[in-house]
């Protein structure tokens, strides 16, 4: 983990710096604890103030004092000295058991992984048998055979922990054996041993190192446990486990005896585990659990405030409109703690029975628009400006309970991938039933009957039987029909469809689009149809809004938009659209990519990809027009070009 000073924004420097070095501080402390342990183990003879075995019954069970910093035990032996000598035992124990585990497990694992067949079967069954016995019992049995004592107990632990190295080595061999380069090495005639050494050992090293750290921690705990029950290190030898054994016996007289060895074990195991975590993170790909999107830390300069443009875009509100979104702005939080806009100045409306398409390349903010209407942007993103009126109520001002009421009842959403938008743990019927029961208060029986009706309505044969199926038992098209049935179960006035056909086969796509049309005729809901596919949009939408880099660049009825695109980006999209008639010439593409949020040009956001850029494009461009809206200073000029 490295800190690049330039990624730290000046706004939140202290917190970011503190957080990053926090991990480094922990790593440093853990490493120094282990170094100190090693130092004490090696130089115990010089460092320890007393002989750890010297008894002095006159001084038994003393509390900490200047003579005995950590007090004395039941035989008057100095606890600090025994603790320091305990470091040596711990180091020996960890080294012995871990080495035995590696030296036993890895070669056997490599061998059976490479050989396979009967060897593999037998050894793996034995490993399974050993693993099905509690580890400490395995160790106890082996100690029964070998006898007690530090080295014998460590052999027992080594055998016990070798199973995890065996499985690790076998797993790596099985994975690598299939790799092409191993096969090619065999073809050129390298011997089996050379293949093993040259190709498999380098790949096994990283997981091996991680497993070693895990094992060292486990060995330390197991050694302490075995010594504690008297089967590991034998008295009078000083190990942390035997010290705890003594402490347990004299708990009523001096409970402090249990503290130093306990802290020593915890600190050591903790340090080993923490270093192991760091190793795993740096060796593995580092699984990112955060939900924050990766965004560059460049601050967006809000040169023109969106509200100043809002007045220009307002058009008279038609009477039968369902959704009215005005001047919407959505921000995501950036790494440095600041916020970056992803949608700005977005206004749109949809009337009853109307289908509005939102089109644009991926990353343009189409999906986020849909989610922000539902108030479901998720962690790290929020709507910062604008209003979202659904049936005349502003959803942004509603408290959580009420917006939960609105979702499902007044607005519902169909997602891109039907197989992942249905819960795999429940039958599809029960997922519709759940919505009907919790949103409409139906009884189980009413809800079930209605769910079956809905499944029938979306064109699924044998609906009663299908309702009892799990999502993974259905085809993609059928799952999407179920998702649509669930979305429409409470008869919402607005349906948001986010790329509902993209994940489906082309033949199924058309069926689903037809279903949307039929259902809209029947239920009369408004549809916000998000898609990147202009052909789909042309098929189903009444009006289309073209989005680019978080804003609408053009909004028009379908026919005028296709016949006469006014924004260069729309023109680019249309010309990049495949037509059945002219298959031969290569499709023109728009050069470059959609700039990521935070890296948008300050003026027209399309200007760095536009062939018609002029000086005027460096200023913010408003969306102008009433029936047709376009966000381009040269819109009029292209008008004429397009006609020709």
């Amino acid at each position: 983990m490295s800190i690049e000073p330039d990624t730290l924004s000046p706004a939140m420097p202290r917190r970011a710096r503190w957080r990053l070095s926090g991990a480094q501080i922990i790593t440093g402390i853990a490493a120094s604890v282990l170094l100190m342990l090693a130092f004490l183990a090696v130089f115990a003879d010089w460092i320890a103030p007393y002989d750890p075995l010297r008894q002095s019954l006159m001084e038994a069970l003393q509390w900490p004092s200047t003579a005995h910093w950590l007090g004395t035990d039941d035989l008057g032996r100095d606890v600090l000295s025994r603790l320091i000598y305990g470091c040596r035992i711990a180091a020996i124990a960890a080294a012995e058991a871990t080495s035995i585990a590696v030296l036993l497990g890895v070669p056997i694992g490599l061998f059976i992984g490479y050989r396979g067949g009967l060897w593999d079967w037998i050894v793996m069954r034995i490993v399974e048998a050993v693993v099905s016995i509690p580890g400490i019992m395995v160790a106890i049995v082996i100690i029964a055979i070998l006898g007690a004592g530090l080295h014998r107990a460590m052999i027992a632990l080594g055998i016990l922990f070798s199973t995890s190295f065996l499985r690790l080595a076998r797993g790596v061999v099985l994975a690598e054996r299939e790799e092409v380069y191993v096969r090619s090495a065999r073809v050129v005639g390298a011997s089996d041993n050379r293949i093993l050494l040259r190709h498999i050992l380098p790949n096994i090293a990283p997981p091996l190192i991680v497993q070693v750290t895990l094992t060292v921690g486990a060995v330390l705990l197991a050694e302490a446990g075995l010594s504690f029950i008297g089967l590991g290190v034998q008295p009078p030898q000083a190990s942390w486990g035997t010290m705890l054994n003594t402490a347990a016996a004299f708990m009523d007289f001096n409970w402090f005896l249990s503290v130093p060895p306990g802290i020593a074990i915890i600190l050591t195991v903790l340090s080993v585990n923490l270093l192991g975590d760091v190793l795993r993170d740096s060796i593995g790909r580092g699984i990112a659990v955060g939900v924050r999107p990766e965004t560059p830390a460049v601050r967006f300069e809000a040169a023109a405030s969106p509200s100043s443009e809002a007045g220009l875009t307002s058009s008279p509100r038609p009477a039968d409109e369902i959704l009215w979104v005005e001047s919407l702005q959505v921000m995501v939080s950036a790494r440095d703690g600041g916020e970056i806009p992803v949608i700005t100045d977005l206004s749109l409306s949809i009337a009853k029975g109307e289908t509005l398409g939102l089109v644009g390349e991926s990353g343009s903010g189409k999906t986020l628009t849909g989610l922000s209407i539902l108030g479901l942007l998720g962690a790290g993103a929020r709507t910062t400006h604008g209003s979202i009126l659904l049936n005349g109520r502003d959803l942004r001002t509603l408290p959580r309970k009420q917006i939960e009421q609105v979702r499902g009842n007044e607005v519902a959403m169909v997602f891109q991938d039907p197989t992942t938008s249905l819960n795999p743990a429940f039958t599809v019927g029960s997922q519709i039933v759940e919505v009907l029961r919790s949103k409409q208060g139906l009884t189980q029986k009413q809800a079930w009957n209605h769910a079956v009706e809905l499944i029938d309505r979306v064109g699924i044969p044998r609906p009663e039987e299908r309702a009892r199926a799990y999502p993974h038992e259905l085809s993609g098209g059928m799952a999407q029909r179920i998702a649509i049935a669930r979305a429409l179960s409470c008869n919402p006035s607005l349906l948001i469809a986010d790329e509902p056909t993209t994940a489906l086969d082309v033949t199924v796509q058309q069926e689903i689009l037809d279903l949307f049309r039929d259902l809209q005729d029947e239920f009369g809901m408004a549809i916000l149809f998000v898609t990147h596919d202009l052909a789909v949009a042309a098929d189903i939408c009444d009006r289309i809004g073209v989005m680019y880099a978080g804003e609408l660049v053009e909004m028009a009825d379908v026919d005028p938009l296709f016949a006469d695109p006014r924004h260069p980006y729309t023109r680019g999209l249309l010309s990049a659209m495949p037509h059945a008639s002219d298959r031969n010439p290569p499709l023109p593409t728009i050069r470059g990519n959609v700039p990521r949020p935070g890296t948008w040009p300050l003026g027209c956001r399309f200007s760095n990809r536009c062939d018609f850029k002029s000086a005027a494009c460096d200023a913010r461009i408003p969306l102008v027009g009433t029936g047709r809206q376009v966000r381009c200073v040269r819109a009029g000029e292209f008008d004429m070009e397009a006609v020709s």
Partner: protein, 314 residues
């Protein structure tokens, strides 16, 4: 579901066979001659032959294995070399003790682990998350028997809320039983709860990002319903596999923690058996523990199948 259980049972056959062979072979692996152990130093050659005959040690090894297995299947695990009590009887007498500890500690581990894991996953990077993560890291480094000692020092010796030692059977007094198992179970369950919390957190964080969670929210289902029904059901799928392993760990941990609280469970029996080289007792203990572990595994397999329809054989 029945099919799943039958499948799992069949898969156990080779495992149990290997376990029985390994367990049986202790006899020949032990350094000491069991006959010598029984007759002692003063035994004559005649006594030696007689005991050898009685133990069946003059028969070929495979016959001895089959006879031993046949008796073990019928619940006869032999008699202790040390005091001639029936192994099955001795183990069964101690089993409720160790099972009480394992069960209550498993309950504690699951409740704390799931609650902490879910709370941490709901607000990644919040103080709840950090607290749970730090707690889980610590919990995994603390030896359970040491934690037991500290609990004894605090709640038994100083505060006198719970007995420091001993065990009251459930059949004798349920409330005293609970009082006697609560500290040892807490000592045992804490480190497992740390491991479970880590698993639950990572599973839950993954599930909460799934489309079906957003879809359920979009459908207007309440946040609580989505988290506890839709997300947790799916997040528990990988956790259940860990649970099975953790219960095995708890069973082993109970053997040691029993010593802290001077509880006469399987642990005390096992330690005595090692000291006395009591082979039949050790064999019996291993077989009973494998039996317990296998039962837990079967149970978790069934739960896994219930939670995850894809795992059910069709």
């Amino acid at each position: 579901m029945l099919k799943l259980i039958v499948q799992r049972l069949l898969a156990l056959v080779p495992l149990l066979f290997i376990v029985s062979v390994l367990t049986f072979s202790f006899t020949s692996l032990l350094p000491s001659d069991p006959v010598d152990l029984i007759i002692g130093d003063t035994g004559t050659q005649d006594q030696y032959e007689m005991v050898r005959e009685r133990l069946g040690l003059n028969q070929p090894v495979h016959l001895r294995y089959l006879q031993w297995l046949g008796r073990a299947v019928q619940g006869d695990l032999g008699t202790s070399f040390f005091n001639s009590v029936s192994v099955m009887g001795a183990v069964m007498q101690r089993l409720p003790v160790t099972l009480s500890l394992t069960a209550i500690s498993a309950l504690i581990a699951i409740v704390i682990g799931v609650a902490a894991g879910v709370a941490a996953a709901l607000r990644p990077r919040s103080w709840v998350d950090r607290f749970a993560t730090i707690g889980a890291t610590f919990g995994q480094a603390v030896p359970n028997f040491w934690f037991g000692l500290i609990l004894v020092a605090t709640f038994a010796v100083n505060l006198r809320w719970f007995p420091a030692t001993g065990f009251t059977p459930l059949t004798e007094s349920p409330s005293e039983w609970l009082r006697s198992v609560i500290l040892p179970s807490l000592a045992l369950g804490t480190s497992s709860s740390a491991a479970i919390a880590r698993q639950v957190r990572s599973a839950m964080v993954g599930v909460l990002q799934q489309d079906y969670i957003r879809a359920a929210r979009a459908q207007g289902l309440s946040a609580r319903r989505v988290i506890f029904r839709h997300a947790l059901t799916n997040a528990m799928v990988p956790v259940v596999a860990v649970l099975s392993f953790q219960i095995t760990v708890l069973l082993g941990g109970a053997l040691i923690v029993e010593q802290v609280f001077a509880i006469n469970g399987l642990g005390t029996l096992a330690i005595a058996a090692v000291r006395q080289q009591d082979i039949p007792m050790l064999q019996g203990l291993v077989l009973v523990m494998v039996g317990l572990v296998v039962t837990v595994q079967l149970a978790t397999d069934v739960i896994y199948g219930l939670l995850n329809p894809k795992a059910r054989p069709s």
